[in-house]
Amino acid sequence: MLALAAWALARAGAKVSPNATVGQLSRPQQHLVEIAKATAHQVRVLILDEPTAALTSEDAKHLFELCAELKRRGVGIVYITHRFDELYRFADRVTILRDGRRVGTFEANQVDRAQLITYMTGREFREMFPTLPAPRGNTRLSAHEVRVPGRLAKTSFEVREGEVLGLAGLDGSGKSELARALFGLEPAADGTIIIDQREVNLRRVSPRQMIARGLMYLPADRRKEGLALCRPVLENMTISALAGLSHFGFLAKAEERRRAGAVAARLRIKTPSLFSRTALLSGGTQQKVMVSKALLAAVKVFVFDELTQGIDVGAKVDLYHFVQELAASGAAVVMVLSDMAEILNLCHRVLILCRGECVACLSGAEISEPTVLRHYFGEKLVPTENAVGA
C-alpha cells in the first residue's frame, strides 16, 4: 500500500513522503496529495475543479503532463477552470455555464478567447482591463519603515490620490504581510503610516481603528476572513459602516437598505434579494459583497489582497472596472497581486518583494513581464530606497 501511495505521489509530482501528516503540508502539497489520491485508483472519469488554483506554476506543469498521460490512456477528464490558457492546453471540447445554465458546447479549436468571455459574461466583450486615469498630485497614504520581524524588512512607500500600487512577489515574499501590517493584522509589526496627513503608529493598532482612520484591507480568503456566509447579504455589506448608519446605537434601517441597494447596483451584485444568505451566492458575487463593505465604510485607502482570486471572469472584469472607478474618484488603492496580467495592466506602480524585502519599484513602461519575473527571484537592480515616491 505504501508503495502504491509513493508511486501515486511521485506521479502527481508531489515531493511528499507517504507517511507525512496531511495537516502539516503546505496548501499546494495538500492539493497534489488530493490529485495523487484520485489517480491511485483506476479511474475512468476524472473531474478536476480548478485544480491549479493553489499550485505553483511548476506543480501545475506537472499536473498538465499527468492529465495528458491519463488522456492518452483513455481516461475522460472534466476540467473545470476559468483560466483560458489551461483550457486551450488540452481541452477537446468546451462547455460554458453561466448562472446555473449551459450556454453552449464548442469544439475547443473553434472558439477564441473573446468569444468565450462573451459567453461567460453574457455581455459584449469589453476591454478586460480599463485604462487607469493618471494619479492626482497629493499623497494619500505614506508608509514609513513598515516591518514585520522575521517576515518583512523595513519598507517605505507612498500612494497618491487616484493611484493604484501593486505589491507583487512570490508566495512568502512578504507582500501579504506588508498589506496585513497596514491594517493591524500582524501583531509583531511596527512602523508608521500617514493617511491624509494623520499619522498612525502600526504598533497595537486594530482594524477597527484603521477603518476609522480611512483605510480598509480586504483579505484573500473571503470564506475564512471576509464574510459571515450564514448572514444575509445586507448585513455583510454594511457591517463596517454601522457607525454612520445608527443614532445612539439604533440602526437607521431604511437608510441602510438604500445605501446598500445603491452599492449593489453599482457593483452588479447578483442576488435574489439583499436578505438572501450570502452562502447561496456565487464566488464572484460573494467577492463583490465583501468589496462593498469597504465602499460603504467610506474609506479612502483600499488594500485588496488577491482581489480576483478564484472568481469567474465576468466578476473579474467588473472588479477591474471598479478599481478604475475607485482610482478616478481619488482613492488610493494598494493591491497584493499574483496574476501577471493584473500586475501588467492594473497598476500605476508595482513594488516587488522578494524574501521579505522590497527589491524594486517599477512604474509605467518598466512594468513588463521579464522585468517583473527577474525581480521575483531577487535580482536587486534598484536599491530599496528608491521605492519611496514615484
Binding site: V103, G104, P207, R231, E235, A243, S246, F250, A297
Partner: protein, 338 residues
C-alpha cells in the same frame, strides 16, 4: 467586436434575468424557528388525544405561567449561542441568585423597598457571574465550554457555602405575592417580566448595532474582526447580558418556590440549550431568532406538562429531554448545512 451566432445569443437574456428563486417557505420556517412546528403538531395531537385536559384553556394558562422562567433563561442562552458560545453556568447562577436574594430578604424589614433590594441583589450577583464569564471568554479567549463549566462549579459551590447547604425559609409573604402570584391590571407579574425581557432583547437584536455585532461575531469572528467589529467587547457584553437575564429568572423562580434554594435550576443549562436549538438557534453561532428560542422553551414546558398529566415519571422525562436535544442538534446540522 464579435458576432454572436443567433442560436447562441438566445440564452443570454433568459439567463441574465432569471435568478434562483428565494428559499422555499419550508426552509425559511426551518431556519427561523427550527423543527418546532412539526414537534408542536405531534405534541398537540398525541397528548390531546390521550388526555383532553391537556388542551383546556386552564391548563394552557398554567403552562404559560410555568414556562416564563425557562423562556427567560433560554433567551439568555440564545444571546450567547448567537455569538458561537454557550453558557453552562445558568443553572448554578440561578441557585446563587436564589440564595443571595433569600439572604437579603430575611435580613431586612418586609416592605416593598426591601423586596426590591433583594431582587436587585439577586440580579446583581448573576450579572457579576455573567461579567466574569464574559471576561474569561473574551479577554483570554478561553473556550466558553470550559469557562462556563468552571463557573458552574464555582457558583454552585458558593450557593452551598453561603446557605450552609440548607434552604432559606421564612420569606415575607409579600415577596411571592408580588413576584409570583401578583398581577398588574389583570396581567400576571411573570408575564409582565417575560414581556419586558422579550421586548428588550428584540429591540437589542433587531434594531441596534450591538445586535448586528452579535450575529456578525457568531457568523464569522475573524471576518467580524477584520470588518471593524469590536469582537471582544461584543462577546463580553453578550455574557454579561445573559447573566443579568438569568438573574431575573432566578429572582422570579425564587419567588415562585417561596424559599432560597441552593439546588434551584440544576436542569436549566441542558433545557435552555435544548429549547434554543429546538427553536432553530444554530449551535455554530450566527443564526437564530428570538421567536424560536421563546417557542422552544414554551414547547419543552408544555411537553413536560403533558407528560405529568399522563403520569410519565420524571426519570423518563429526563430521557425524553435528552432525546429531544439530540434530535434538535441533528436537525440543526441539516438546517444549517454543517
Amino acid at each position: 467586436m464579435l458576432s454572436v451566432r443567433k442560436e447562441l445569443a438566445l440564452p443570454f437574456d433568459a439567463a441574465s434575468t432569471t435568478l434562483e428563486p428565494g428559499p422555499s417557505l419550508f426552509r425559511r420556517v426551518l431556519t427561523g424557528v427550527g423543527i418546532l412546528p412539526i414537534l408542536m403538531v405531534v405534541l398537540v395531537i398525541i397528548f390531546g388525544v390521550i388526555e383532553p385536559r391537556f388542551l383546556a384553556w386552564q391548563n394552557i394558562r398554567t403552562v404559560g405561567i410555568q414556562s416564563v422562567y425557562l423562556i427567560i433563561v433560554s433567551v439568555a442562552q440564545m444571546i450567547v449561542l448567537l455569538t458561537g458560545g454557550f453558557d453552562l453556568s445558568v443553572g448554578s447562577s440561578i441557585a446563587l441568585t436564589s440564595i443571595v436574594t433569600g439572604s437579603v430578604l430575611i435580613a431586612v424589614d418586609p416592605n416593598l423597598a426591601a423586596i426590591a433590594k433583594a431582587a436587585v441583589a439577586g440580579v446583581a450577583i448573576a450579572t457579576l457571574i455573567g461579567a466574569v464569564n464574559g471576561a474569561i471568554v473574551s479577554i483570554f479567549s478561553v473556550s466558553p465550554f470550559i469557562a462556563t463549566l468552571a463557573m458552574m462549579s464555582i457558583a454552585s459551590g458558593a450557593a452551598l457555602v453561603v446557605s450552609g447547604g440548607v434552604p432559606i425559609f421564612n420569606f415575607p409573604p409579600q415577596f411571592s405575592d408580588t413576584l409570583a402570584t401578583g398581577s398588574l391590571l389583570g396581567v400576571p407579574v411573570p408575564w409582565i417580566a417575560v414581556g419586558v425581557v422579550v421586548l428588550l432583547v428584540y429591540v437589542l437584536l433587531s434594531w441596534t448595532r450591538f445586535g448586528r455585532y452579535l450575529y456578525a461575531v457568531g457568523g464569522n469572528a475573524e471576518a467580524a474582526h477584520l470588518s471593524g467589529v469590536p469582537v471582544r467587547r461584543s462577546l463580553f457584553l453578550a455574557y454579561l447580558l445573559a447573566g443579568a437575564l438569568t438573574g431575573v429568572a432566578g429572582v422570579m423562580l425564587t419567588a415562585r418556590v417561596g424559599s432560597g434554594e441552593p439546588n434551584l435550576g440544576a436542569t436549566v443549562p441542558l433545557e435552555s440549550i435544548a429549547a434554543a436549538v429546538l427553536g432553530g438557534v444554530s449551535l455554530g453561532g450566527g443564526e437564530g431568532t428570538l421567536l424560536g428560542a421563546v417557542l422552544g422553551a414554551f414547547f419543552l414546558v408544555f411537553l413536560r406538562n403533558g407528560m405529568d398529566l399522563i403520569r410519565i415519571s420524571s426519570y423518563v422525562q429526563m430521557v425524553v429531554t435528552g432525546v429531544l436535544l439530540i434530535i434538535a442538534i441533528v436537525a440543526d446540522r441539516y438546517i444549517h448545512d454543517r
